[in-house]
Symmetry: C2
Subunit: 283 residues, 2 copies
């Protein structure tokens, strides 16, 4: 791997920043707020920031870069797809539980639901995340989708994943802003009490975490090595196997595969397309 040391330093930084964010969210709710409970009180609301930061930011971030970890490159692509999908499923469950906590708290206190920009964009992000997860399972994990569909959808899957992740962080920042304005009364948010400083720092850490994940995810030379793809680049070697994107395909797609390799120039172009789409790592 090129720049292995730099990758490890960035990974360690991302893990540290993500971990500290989760800790700060716990310090926030236990030291400055009402702790955690499940009884319609503010303690139930507090599950919302804790679970969003733990699941929808930290775990989703790890799920995004899981293919980048060099020590997983000896594992099968299918196993890594299960880990990627599994982490995203955990993130999604935590996000849904955290939303239930807010709705139950609002209903218990007769606070309207879904009036704020935070709630509009947050719910939109959860809906798109569910769609992304469902399509990811159906197209890239299950062995039924034809290769041309996978190739066509992979750039959209990658782009959607990163855009939803960025949107989730933006939504968390809006949520932090809302909560600090509503919760801090004397002293107010504008008086910068210690809680405000702590939670502002938490918001900054979320931006840094997101930036680190997006950098690691978008470096082409840190992708899982395209061992199979490389064979398309050298069609004269006449290797019989297909690209990585096909690794869980059934034999029904063999026609597609042979089409792909029917001519050197087409194969080269197709390979560039695969590379550009970043489909090699499902990320």
């Amino acid at each position: 791997m090129e720049d292995y040391g730099r990758f490890l330093a960035l990974l360690a930084s991302a893990l540290l920043v993500g971990f500290v964010s989760v800790i700060l969210s716990l310090v926030w709710v236990f030291h400055y707020r009402e702790g955690l409970s499940w009884d319609g009180s503010l303690g139930e609301f507090n599950w919302h920031p804790v679970l969003i930061i733990t699941g929808f930011v930290f775990i989703q971030g790890i799920a995004i870069i899981v293919y980048r970890l060099p020590w997983t490159w000896k594992c099968s692509k299918l196993l890594m797809k299960f880990i990627h999908a599994g982490l995203n499923t955990i993130a999604m469950i935590l996000a849904i539980v955290s939303m239930v906590a807010v709705f139950e708290f609002h209903n218990a206190k007769n606070i309207p639901n879904m009036y704020s920009l935070h709630s509009w964009i947050g719910l939109t992000a959860v809906i798109f995340y569910s769609l992304q997860l469902f399509l990811g399972f159906a197209v890239f994990l299950l062995p039924f989708a034809p290769v041309h569909l996978r190739v066509a959808l992979m750039p959209i899957h990658v782009y959607s994943g990163l855009t939803i992740f960025a949107t989730v962080i933006a939504t968390a920042l809006m949520g932090i802003t809302e909560k600090l304005i509503f919760a801090l009364k004397s002293p107010a948010y504008s008086a910068s009490p210690p809680e405000a400083t702590l939670v502002n720092c938490l918001g900054l850490l979320l931006v840094i975490f997101g930036s680190l994940i997006l950098w690691m995810a978008s470096r082409p030379h840190w992708k899982r090595p395209p061992a199979e793809n490389a064979k398309i680049l050298r069609p004269t070697e006449a290797t019989p196997d297909g690209t990585e994107v096909e690794s869980t395909l059934t034999k029904s797609s063999n026609a597609d595969k042979s089409d792909l390799r029917s001519n050197t120039e087409a194969a080269r172009k197709q390979n560039i397309k695969f590379d550009e789409a970043g489909q090699r790592s499902t990320m």
Copy 2:
């Protein structure tokens, strides 16, 4: 250009969404708020959302995709760099004026400055944007930087540009959230008065605008054609000119250029690196 029709449809959508966002910000401040003025009143504060949405979101978004417009591909790269830098300079000036408006309003009303997460992340974004603009001028526009420095910095320039753009939109969403909570009292934000609905829609449009710009900017096949780069891919043709990244370089970098082409495999790898970095279009 591949998918020319689709590109035009997305460009038209982005321009429409961006334009409607600017209009909605004007409807907000003129129809629901105190209009625009420069006297320390709320009318001065209102320049902040209008100039941020016009300059720091809309114009910055256009600056990001300006290399993608196919009808500019016959123009020189240097001219396009000037347009890219010029649009970003306009965006930066509008962002700074919009910040002056808020500071003057806060000072006139004895409201503390820089206490909110919105202000922390917003100021950080402006500082990074200034650095990005300065480094962009120094490294990619002026003809002094050696090619290896340009190649090394281009991936960082592209990543920083897109990350700052996304962060600016996230900051705008926080600002909208703050303003609606502070400004709407009877009826409150939670009662969803028409102003809240309008401005929530404005926030959604900003997310859609950002998503469209990021999609257009990250499609490799919509990049400005790599006419010069292609010559590195075919070193046997012995073309004397360098890559596009060198188009404003002085002769002092000729040693670097010949180094780059000293061997076929190295040139191919270098070309892949150029392609991956997306340096061909400074975007």
